[in-house]
Structures are given as structure tokens and as C-alpha cells.
């Protein structure tokens, strides 16, 4: 008498899905009960979840789950009948109990048995709670005589449930009551109980995936037919193809919709996560969720589940302060954690906001240096935003000690990788003392995307619409004036901003040509077609031969031969049946050296030191006013300005100048590098000033004369020849000193770095 194995497996699968969902609901209702926000139905909902798990487990011969579930069921039954009152120990025990069930189910899922864990102590706790037959306390029931009639004898007055202990987090999910109206009935013996089964069915996900693939193929076939019918004269055929076109589009949308799930499905577990994490850390956190009806493709929902959990844990662990610290900072003791999701421009935005202490940028830099993720020099050069993004580097963690809560081996780098894997982007904004926000942008779906088709070198390429900003076409005059060469890189001045250009032909070596030839070629061509793209927050122009049309394309993964090439994200089949490659904008930008690969910085310092020999750097060359020529990396320069000498004013013993509504200190470089015996020369009028900005503060470095900007492979000789310099290099056959900007600023204006001990320590 064996039961069909396949059926058993299938039932176990269903049990797992249903039970995990049920346990999430269980948690949610428990927390409502704890807050005193439960309704008359709450104890029933909780009971039913466990009852179902127990019943199914029993039928599947899962005796351990069944017996554990049984003990809880008894307690919940007593709770439902008002024989047991809600109390913090009860809530805690029941939540632990739900976790125990989860543990066994998970073990069943991964290891195909119920696990070895011993729950006898937990079960004893539950039994004890059941035994102490307390005076029946009405659960926080708003006067609602309807329902199961279990509370009829009880006073209708609103008696709040015992409030939780103070350290327990207050969790207030502001969710519209989204639970479908199903299962409000008892589900019992009433003759025609309308069940959820009438309006909704469970469909195997594989089935949906298969449908989705088929629709993808259909879209391709549709494109082909529509293209072939274009020149056709047959009206009947034209009409039919148009109809096919419309129906396919609708079908595609319909099938996509079936795969959509509200993000609330994964948020449902956050109230519990927040409660647990907060109470573990002795913090008070209020969770607010907005837009939990925002829908996403299920593959994406799956993919962002863990990253989101990690961010939420992080926000509570590192972001939100303890009650005492918050009080001291003049904030309410209860921290706020806000989850928001909304659609925008065909993408889904998710924001996780906290009103905690914000990210300490100085400490981030310090850590990054300690861990060898960036060099001291690099750290000094980073803008606040760039510095914030250091937390996404592998091997980074700001926690002073690895806490139980967020130190679980996965860092923000995993979060970033996972989100980028699905074509999303993640960004952090932090306001020191007032909190931080993690912003995630993800596509709605991965399967079919709108894309711009371009032609270059006779080949067609698809560019995902999400990274597309605008199209620019330059003709004759515009072209000659617009495109300039800056350090050998062609750039275009788009509305006053310099846009680095990248020629697709050249990047993909479609036409064997050097940069010079290309420039010449494009000079001969009638016009330059430019696609303005965005990658990693940086914009650049991609020059292509021809811009075609936008199309919905079905993304097909690349074969493994092409997978390693960063320039391509995938392939698609065009209307005429030919294959077009989909460009990976970020990969392309990195390939063209427009966006640096951030991951490079992740290499330890030692490796970098070896590399510096071969590093190309763009340097600003200037005459310091003293004898020798000096250089500083161009990346440290905010602007080059000229000031008349008379505009110099004094503040204390410091020379200052008014610049864009700010007072910035002036530092005469010559004073700081003067060598013995060579008096500083008189300065020219107007003065040449290099504006150097860091952490939102600026200083002006007064130099003699700006010479040139060069891109050089530099090998720094570490033996510094004089104060204020890092060392000497040979540039264009002349010895050039590398200026130690931070040392000079420190010497002239110690206050500049005062807020930034990290850089000082360097």
C-alpha cells in the first residue's frame, strides 16, 4: 500500500508554499494581536494556518511537523476560545513556534526530511502556557458580534491587550487590508461556502514560464509577419496581420500580468523581521510600508527578496540609533523605517528610508582604507557620493563588530550584485544625523524589453530603452563645431556639458580603423548620429551609423561563447529572422574606459601599488611660481579660474577670495614648496587659481602659470624631494614634482580637514 511518490512530492511542494505563506500571515496576525490591533477573526486566522499545516503534514506522514503543529494548535484553540490570554510570553513563544515550523519545513525543502532539531523545550513552554488557565481576557476585539460567535458572552468594550514590554519594537504595518476577501467565512460545513478556489487558482510556475516563452516566440513570429505584410497588396492579409499584431500585444501583456505579484508578498515578513531585529538590539522601530500593491514580475520578486531583507536589517542595525541616543539627538525614541515602492518610467522604484544617524562618510573612508579597498590618495579624492558607494564594495562592513543581526557573511556588495544581475541599480543617499535612504530601481520584467535598434558597420544592435536618454543628430556645421578632442578623447558639448563620445564601430572593431581615421570618416559622413546613454550615473554619447526604430524585443541569453563579453547583454531575433545583439550599456562604457570599473578598487593596496607603474593618469601641469614644474591629478581639480589680484581679501591671517557666493581660502603653492635659496617669484596678475574641492569645501591653490594637461603613465619615485610634494616624475622630458595637495592644504588651513579625521590620519 504505497502512495504515489510523485504525488507525494507534489503535495509536499504545495505544503511548503502554502505553509510559508501561512506562517507569514501567522506572524502578521500575531503582531497585530500583540499591538492590540487584532480583530475577532485574528485568533481564527492564526488557528487555521496551523490547523492546515498540521492536517496536511499528517496526510503526508510528516509526523514530526504534525506533532509539533499539534501542540501549538491546542494552545491556539484555547486562545481562540478565550481560555488563554494574550501576553508577551505567549506571543514570543508562538513566534518561536512559527520559526520552529519554518525550520522543519525548510529542512524538508532542502534535505527532504524534517530535520533533527529538538523542540521539546519549546513545546513544553507552549504546553505550560496552555495549562495556566487564565481568566479569559477578551482579545482586542472591536465590538463585532458577527463572526464565529465565540466572543458573544464577552463585554463588547475595547479592552486592549496587555501592551508589550518596552523594549519590544512597535511594528505598525500601514498596509491597506489587502487580504482578499476569501476565507472570511468559516470554511466549514456551511452548504455553499464560496471558496477562494472559485475566483483564483494555483498555477504551476513552470507552466507560466513556458507560456511566457511561447509568447516570446509568438512576438517574434508576429514581427516577422508584420514585416512581410508591409509591402503586401492583399487587403485581407493586411487586416489579418494587423489583428494578429494587436492580439499578440494583448496576449503578451496578459501573460506578463499573470506573472506579476504585488511586492507586498515579500514585504509581509518585514514586520516580523523588524520586530525581531529591533528587540534584539533594544531599539524601537516603527515600520511603515507604502505601495505594497506595486506589482513586479515574479522572477524579480524572488531576486530582490534577500537583498531587501539585508537592507532592512542593516537599516535597523547600523542606521537607527538606540532610544537613548535618539533622545539625545532630539529625535523621537521610536525610529522610523519606511519602505516605499512605486512605478516610474517603466521601472519599479523601491526605497528603504530610515531616520537614523546616517552613514558616517569619514568612517566609511577609514574602513575602506583599512581594508585596502581604496588607497589613501583615492579616498581623499572621492566625493561624498562616491564615498558612500564604497559600502557596496566586496569585503566592506562598517559595523565595529560583526553583530548577530547584519553580520551574516553577506554584505552590501552581494545586495548590489544581486540587484544589478536583474538589470537594476542601487544607490544610497545619506544625510548625516537625519537618516539614509537606499534607492533601488529595477525593471518590471526581464523577458521582453523595449529597445532602440541601431545600425553600425552593417550590423544591427539593440539598446535597452532604460539606459537611453536622448538622440542627437549633428549635421555639417554643428558637427564640426560640436565635437572636440580632449586629451585624445572625442567629446561633444551638449548644452554646456561635456559628453564623452564612444564610436561603436571602433569599440566593437566593426571597421578596422584608428581613432584618427574614424574622426576623419565621420567628418566625411553626412551627419553624426549619437545615442546619449547613461551608465552608472555617468552619461556618454554612443556614435552609430544609423538609428532605426524602437521595438519590443525578446531577450535571449547569449551562448556561452559570447557570455564573457561585457559589451553584450544578450541577443534577440529581429523581424526578418536575423539575430541582433543587445548592447550592455554599462559594459560598453567600461570597455570604452568611460566608466571605471569600480570593482578595480576592490583589489588590495599591494596589488594596486604594483599596478601604479602602469597607471595612466591625466595630470594638470603648472608652474608653481617657484622654479620647478608641478603636477596634480586632474581628477582633484574642480575648476581653473583667474582672479584679479585686487579681489584677494583677508580673513584673520588667511588670504581668502569670494567665489560663487562662498568664501574660500587661498593657498599660495609657492610658499609651501619653496626650496632653500629660491625666493618665491612675484605672482602674475590676474592670478591663476586651481579650485580644489573636497567634501563640499573648496580651496584655491594659487599657481604661477597653467602649462598643460597631459595623460601620462607615471611612475612615482617615492623619495620625496621636498616638502609639499609626493615625489618626482618625468613628464615630457622634464622633471615634474607631484604636488601633495592634502599636505599643503593641511599646512595652510588645518581647519579644512577638521571634520575629516580619516584623511588626517592618512
Amino acid at each position: 500500500m504505497t502512495t504515489n511518490d510523485e504525488l507525494q512530492q507534489q503535495l509536499i511542494q504545495d505544503l511548503l508554499i502554502e505553509s510559508f505563506e501561512g506562517l507569514d500571515r501567522f506572524d502578521r496576525e500575531m503582531l497585530a494581536l500583540e499591538k492590540g490591533a487584532g480583530t475577532t477573526d485574528t485568533p481564527n486566522v492564526i488557528f487555521r494556518v496551523i490547523h492546515t499545516i498540521k492536517g496536511t503534514a499528517g496526510c503526508l506522514g510528516l509526523t514530526k511537523i504534525e506533532s509539533v503543529a499539534h501542540v501549538g494548535e491546542n494552545l491556539l484553540s484555547a486562545l481562540r476560545e478565550g481560555k488563554v490570554s494574550v501576553s508577551p510570553p505567549l506571543i514570543n513563544a508562538l513566534l518561536a513556534y512559527a520559526d520552529a515550523l519554518r525550520e522543519m519545513l525548510r529542512s524538508l525543502e532542502t534535505e527532504r526530511h524534517e530535520g533533527e532539531a529538538d523542540y521539546s523545550e519549546l513545546l513544553r513552554r507552549l504546553q505550560d502556557l496552555n495549562c495556566e488557565t487564565a481568566v479569559p481576557v477578551p482579545s482586542a476585539a472591536p465590538p463585532a458580534p458577527a463572526g464565529w460567535g465565540l466572543f458573544e458572552e464577552e463585554p463588547a468594550a475595547e479592552t486592549p491587550v496587555t501592551p508589550p514590554q518596552t523594549t519590544v519594537a512597535k511594528v505598525l504595518p500601514i498596509m491597506p487590508e489587502s487580504e482578499p476577501a476569501a476565507r472570511t467565512g468559516s470554511g466549514g460545513n456551511s452548504a455553499n461556502a464560496p471558496s477562494a478556489a472559485d475566483s483564483a487558482i494555483r498555477v504551476n510556475v513552470d507552466q507560466l514560464d513556458k507560456l511566457m516563452n511561447l509568447v516570446g516566440e509568438l512576438v517574434l513570429a508576429r514581427n516577422q509577419i508584420v514585416q512581410h505584410c508591409g509591402p503586401a497588396q492583399d487587403h485581407g492579409l493586411l487586416a489579418a496581420s494587423q489583428r494578429l499584431n494587436l492580439i499578440t500585444t494583448e496576449l503578451q501583456e496578459g501573460v506578463m500580468k499573470t506573472r506579476m505579484q504585488p511586492i507586498g508578498n515579500i514585504w509581509a515578513k518585514f514586520p516580523r523581521v523588524v520586530r525581531d531585529v529591533a528587540s534584539e538590539l533594544g531599539k524601537e522601530v516603527q515600520l511603515v510600508m507604502e505601495g505594497n500593491q506595486t506589482e513586479l514580475d515574479r522572477t524579480i520578486i524572488e531576486a530582490i527578496k534577500d537583498p531587501l531583507t539585508h537592507i532592512v536589517r542593516n537599516a535597523i542595525d547600523h542606521g537607527i540609533e538606540g532610544p537613548a541616543e535618539r533622545r539625545a539627538a532630539g529625535k523621537p525614541e521610536t525610529g522610523m523605517l519606511i519602505l516605499r515602492a512605486f512605478h516610474e518610467g517603466g521601472q519599479v522604484n523601491i526605497e528603504i528610508m530610515d531616520d537614523g544617524r546616517g552613514v558616517n562618510i569619514v568612517r566609511v573612508k577609514q574602513k575602506a582604507i583599512e581594508r585596502g579597498l581604496v588607497s589613501v590618495e583615492q579616498a581623499g579624492r572621492l566625493s561624498d557620493r562616491e564615498a558612500l558607494n564604497l559600502i557596496f564594495l566586496p569585503g566592506f562592513s562598517t559595523a565595529e563588530k560583526v553583530t548577530n543581526v547584519s553580520g551574516r557573511g553577506v554584505g552590501m556588495d552581494v545586495v548590489k550584485t544581486n540587484i544589478e544581475k536583474i538589470g537594476g541599480a542601487v544607490d544610497v543617499v545619506s544625510d548625516s544625523g537625519r537618516g539614509s535612504t537606499v534607492k533601488i530601481k529595477i525593471p518590471l520584467t526581464l523577458a521582453i524589453i523595449p529597445a532602440l535598434i541601431v545600425t553600425s558597420g552593417g550590423e544591427r544592435f539593440a539598446i535597452p530603452q532604460v539606459s537611453l536618454l536622448e538622440l542627437v543628430r549633428l549635421e555639417d556645421d554643428q558637427k564640426r563645431k560640436g565635437i572636440e578632442l580632449l586629451c585624445g578623447t572625442p567629446v561633444y558639448r551638449l548644452r554646456g556639458r561635456l559628453l564623452p563620445l564612444c564610436y561603436l564601430n571602433q569599440q566593437l572593431k566593426l571597421v578596422p580603423a584608428t581613432a584618427g581615421q574614424l574622426a576623419a570618416d565621420s567628418a566625411q559622413a553626412d551627419a553624426v548620429n549619437m545615442v546619449v546613454l547613461q551608465a552608472d550615473g555617468r552619461q556618454f554619447g554612443l556614435v552609430v551609423d544609423q538609428i532605426n526604430d524602437t521595438e519590443e524585443i525578446v531577450v535571449k541569453p547569449l551562448g556561452k561563447q559570447l557570455k564573457g563579453i561585457s559589451c553584450f547583454a544578450g541577443a534577440t531575433i529581429m523581424g526578418d529572422g536575423r539575430v541582433a545583439l543587445i548592447l550592455d550599456v554599462l559594459g560598453l562604457a567600461q570597455h570604452a574606459n568611460i566608466v571605471s570599473e569600480v570593482r578595480d578598487r576592490a583589489q588590495p593596496d599591494k596589488a594596486r601599488a604594483d599596478q601604479t607603474a602602469g597607471d595612466r593618469q591625466t595630470l594638470l601641469l603648472f608652474d608653481a611660481g617657484a622654479s620647478s614644474r608641478m603636477a596634480i591629478p586632474l581628477s582633484m581639480v574642480a575648476r581653473l579660474e583667474e582672479f584679479p589680484r585686487k579681489s584677494v581679501e583677508r580673513s584673520g591671517d588667511q588670504e581668502v577670495i569670494q567665489y560663487r557666493g562662498q568664501i574660500i581660502p587661498l593657498i599660495r603653492v609657492a610658499d609651501h614648496i619653496a626650496r632653500v635659496g629660491i625666493p618665491p617669484q612675484d605672482l602674475s596678475d590676474p592670478m591663476q587659481v586651481v579650485i580644489y574641492a573636497e567634501n563640499g569645501r573648496s580651496v584655491g591653490l594659487v599657481v604661477g602659470r597653467i602649462d598643460d594637461i597631459v595623460e601620462e603613465v607615471i611612475t612615482v619615485k617615492r623619495d620625496s624631494s621636498g616638502r609639499g610634494t609626493l615625489g618626482s616624475v618625468v613628464i615630457k622630458e622634464k622633471v615634474t614634482d607631484l604636488l601633495d595637495v592634502s599636505a599643503i592644504i593641511r599646512a595652510a588651513d588645518p581647519a579644512f580637514y577638521l571634520d575629516h579625521p580619516a584623511t588626517l590620519a592618512a
Partner: protein, 123 residues
Amino acid sequence: MLIIDDSKAMRGFLTYLATELSFTTVEAEDGRHGLDTLIKNDPSQPFDVALVDWDMPRMTGIELVQFIRRNRDFDAVKLMMVTTNNTVEKITLALESGADDFLMKPVTLDSLREKLQILGLVD
């Protein structure tokens, strides 16, 4: 009474008969649905008896009976196979799997009443 049959017409007919015998009924459209309905049922109002069709998609009547009988909580629920399979072999299989009795198709009000009487559910 829980009526598990993949034919809507058959369910309707059995419901009609059961109502005649003053039973309250719940219908389920196949074995899986039947199992779910049984499991999710409120234990304070248990089913007295389930009529189980032999041949159903997703989970056959025999499989359903086997699953139900593995859970001791449902011992009190009488299971009656509704079948045209009248070979001794099949009936033995049904009874061995845990069915309490079987009901031959075509079902009539009298045959149903008779079987329910045997199970002690009708006077």
C-alpha cells in the same frame, strides 16, 4: 457530507440526494481539492462522511483515501468510494486503503440511504 467528484453533474446529483437525506454538503472537484477541503475544515464541525469518486484527475479516489487515512485526525470521517469498479480486486483495494464502504454507480436515493444506514449515519 463532503462530495468529491470531478463531474459537476454527478456532484449536483449527489448533493441533491444528500439534501434529501437532510445532510449539509460541501463539494470538491477532484482529489486534491477534496483533501484540501478536508484539511482546512474547522475541526469543531467535522465531516461525517465523504463520498469519493474513484476516477479523478490530479489525485484519484484511492490515492485520496490513502492520504486521508495517514492522518489519524480524520479517523472519524467515514469514506465511501463511489464507483463502477465492481471487481472484487478493486473493492478489496479500496477497503484495504482505508475506505469504509463503497457505493455502486448508478447511485440511487435508496442505495445511498442504505449505505449510510450501514455506517450509522441515517436512521
